[in-house]
Amino acid sequence: MAEAIRRQAPLSRWVIYAVLVAFAAFYLVPLIVTVLNSVRTEQDIGSTSVVGWPRELALSNFGKAWGTYCIAQRCEGISPFMWNSILMVVPATIISTLIGALNGYSIALWRFRGDNWVFGIITLGVFLPEQMKLVPWTLVLRDLGLSNTITALVFIHVIQGISFTTLFCRNYYVAIPPDLLKAAKIDGAGYFRIFWRIVLPLSPPILIVTVIWQFTHIWNEFLYGVTFTTGAQQPVTAALIALSVSVAEAPQYGVQSAAVLIAALPTLLVYLFGGKYFLRGLTAGAVK
C-alpha cells in the first residue's frame, strides 16, 4: 500500500485527517461535556446549557456526588452504591474466571465423552437474552434466601459469566499442543498437576482478557441490578437511574455529572490500561 499512498495528493491526506479528527471529537463530546459539567455550578448550567466552559470551578460537586447527594431518600451520595458494585464485581470476576479456566481446560485438553455438547450448550449461554432468565433467577434467589442482596448478584454473575469465561479459555487452550500433555501424563501428572504446572503458566494473556471482560461487563450490568436489588443494596448502575429519576423535578446536572463520572471511572481506567486486552475480549465474546 505504501507506494500508492505516497502518490496520494497532500490535499486528500488533509481530508482524511480532518474526517478522523472530526469523528474523534464526536466520540469525545459526551465525555468532555460530563467532565466540564462536573465542575460547573447549577446556576451556570441552568443559565446556559449543558455544553459550556465552567465560569467558576465547583469542585464541591464531587464531594456532594460521593457523600451527601440524595438518592431515593438516602442522602449518602453514590459512595455506598460504589462499594456495592466493588463488593459485587471483585468476587464475581475472580470466581467466574477461575471456574472458566478450569472448565476451558477440561473441555479443551482433558477431553471427555460429550465434551462438544457441553461446550455447545455453554456457548448458547453467551447469546441467551437476560430476559429469559429473570423469572427463574427470582425463584432461585428466593429459595436460597438471597433476595435483595449483593451476594445474589455475585452468584448470578458467576454463573452467567461461566459461559463467557469458559468460551474464552477453551478457545485459548485448544491451541496448546496435546503432546505437551501426553508427556506430562506419562510422567504421572494428574488433572490438577497438569493444570497447575503446564496450563496455568501459559494462561496469563487469556486470564487478563477474561478478567477485564468480566470486570467491565459486571460493573456495567444494569438489568439484574435493577431487578434483583432495591434501595441500599443496589449496584451503582442501577442507583444512577434512580438518581436521574429522583432529580427529575429539580435537576442538578453538575452533581449528576460528577456522579456519572465517578461511576464510569473504574471501567474507563481498566480500558485505558488494558485496551488491547479489552478489544480482544470484545472480539472473542462477539464473534465467538
Binding site: 499512498i5 496520494q8 455453554i122 448458547l124 437474552p129 432468565k133 504421572g188 470484545l282
Partner: protein, 308 residues
C-alpha cells in the same frame, strides 16, 4: 505410579483407582451448573409462558393465551416496529461509520493508536452512563438546542428526543456512537489480514488506492460484513439499558422496545406469564438472526475444508 517390577503399595493403588473418578468429580459440577442453568432456565421461562402466572408462578397450562394477548397488544406491535426501525438505522449507520473509519485509519495515519482508543472507549462505559449524558445533550431545554440558540440562532430546533416521530432516531444516534468504534476495530482487523500479494497484484495493474479497496479489499472481507451485522443486530434485540437511560421508552411508547416490554410486564404489571411469553418471542427474534448465521458459518467451514 505403578512402575514395572515393583508392586505398588496397596494405598497408592487405591488412590490411583480413584483418581479418574476424582477428576470427574471436579470437572463436572461447574460444567453441569452452566448447562443446567441455561437449559433449565430457558425451559422454565418457556413453560411459564404457557401458564396463567401473574404475581407468582402457576403450573396450569393455558395454551397460547399469553402469546395471543402479547401479539395482539399495541405495546408489542409498537415495540416490534421500533425494533425494526432502530435495528435497520443502527446497523446501517454503525457499519457505515465503522467501515469509513477503518479504511481511513488504514492510510498510515499518525497517532493511529490514540484515535483507536478514542473511537472504542464508548464500549467500555456503561450504557446507563452514556444514556444519561446523551439525554441531557438531546434535551431541548438544556442541551444542543439551547446551546445553538444561545449562540444567536434563535429559531434552531433539535427536539427529536421529545418528538414522538423522531425519538427513535436519537436511540439510533446514541447506539451508533457507542458501537461504531467496535465495528471499526473488526473491519480494521479484517482489512489488515488481507493477503499482501493481492495488494501488490492490484498495484502492478495500476489500480489506485480507492480502487484497490473497492475491488480487492472489500470483496475479500465480506464475511466480516456479515459477522458485524449479525453482532449489531443481536445488540439491537437485547438493547435495554441505553433506552432505559435515554428515554425510558417514551415519549409515550415512541421508543418502546421488546426488552422493555418484557420488564414492564414481569415486574411493573406483575404478569409473569405474559412477560415470559414476550421473553420467548424476544428469543425467537434472536434465533431468527443467529440460526441463519450459524448455518452460514458451518457452510463456510465445510466449504473451506473441501477447497483446502
Amino acid at each position: 505410579m505403578n512402575v514395572q517390577g515393583r508392586p505398588a503399595a496397596p494405598r497408592r493403588s487405591w488412590r490411583a483407582a480413584l483418581a479418574p473418578w476424582l477428576v470427574h468429580l471436579v470437572l463436572w459440577p461447574p460444567l453441569l451448573v452452566s448447562v443446567v442453568h441455561i437449559i433449565g432456565f430457558t425451559g422454565y421461562t418457556s413453560w411459564i409462558s404457557f401458564t396463567s402466572s401473574t404475581l407468582i408462578p402457576e403450573n396450569d397450562f393455558v395454551g397460547l393465551r399469553n402469546y395471543n394477548s402479547v401479539l395482539a397488544s399495541r405495546n408489542w406491535a409498537i415495540a416490534t416496529e421500533n425494533l425494526l426501525i432502530f435495528g435497520t438505522g443502527f446497523v446501517v449507520l454503525t457499519t457505515a461509520i465503522g467501515l469509513t473509519l477503518a479504511v481511513l485509519l488504514d492510510q498510515r495515519i499518525r497517532a493511529e493508536n490514540v484515535l483507536r482508543t478514542i473511537y472504542l472507549y464508548p464500549m467500555a462505559v456503561s450504557f446507563v452512563v452514556t444514556g444519561t449524558v446523551w439525554s441531557w445533550l438531546l434535551n431541548p431545554s438544556i442541551g444542543i438546542q439551547k446551546l445553538v440558540r444561545g449562540l444567536g440562532w434563535e429559531a434552531f430546533r433539535f427536539d427529536w428526543v421529545v418528538d414522538r416521530d423522531m425519538a427513535i432516531y436519537t436511540i439510533v444516534i446514541a447506539g451508533a456512537w457507542q458501537a461504531s468504534g467496535f465495528a471499526m476495530a473488526l473491519f480494521l482487523a479484517g482489512i489488515r489480514s488481507v493477503d499482501a500479494d493481492l495488494y501488490k497484484a492490484a498495484q502492478i495493474d495500476g489500480a489506485g488506492p480507492w480502487r484497490i479497496y473497492r475491488r480487492v479489499v472489500l470483496p475479500a472481507i465480506w464475511p466480516i460484513f456479515i459477522a458485524v451485522m449479525v453482532i449489531l443486530l443481536q445488540y439491537t434485540i437485547k438493547t435495554f439499558d441505553l433506552v432505559r437511560a435515554l428515554t425510558g421508552g417514551g415519549p409515550g411508547l415512541a421508543t418502546q422496545l421488546p426488552s422493555l416490554v418484557v420488564y414492564d410486564l414481569m415486574f411493573q404489571r406483575g404478569l409473569l406469564g405474559r412477560g415470559s411469553a414476550a421473553a420467548v418471542l424476544m428469543l425467537l427474534y434472536l434465533l431468527a438472526v443467529l440460526l441463519p448465521y450459524f448455518a452460514f458459518v458451518q457452510w463456510r467451514k465445510r466449504r473451506n475444508a473441501r477447497h483446502g
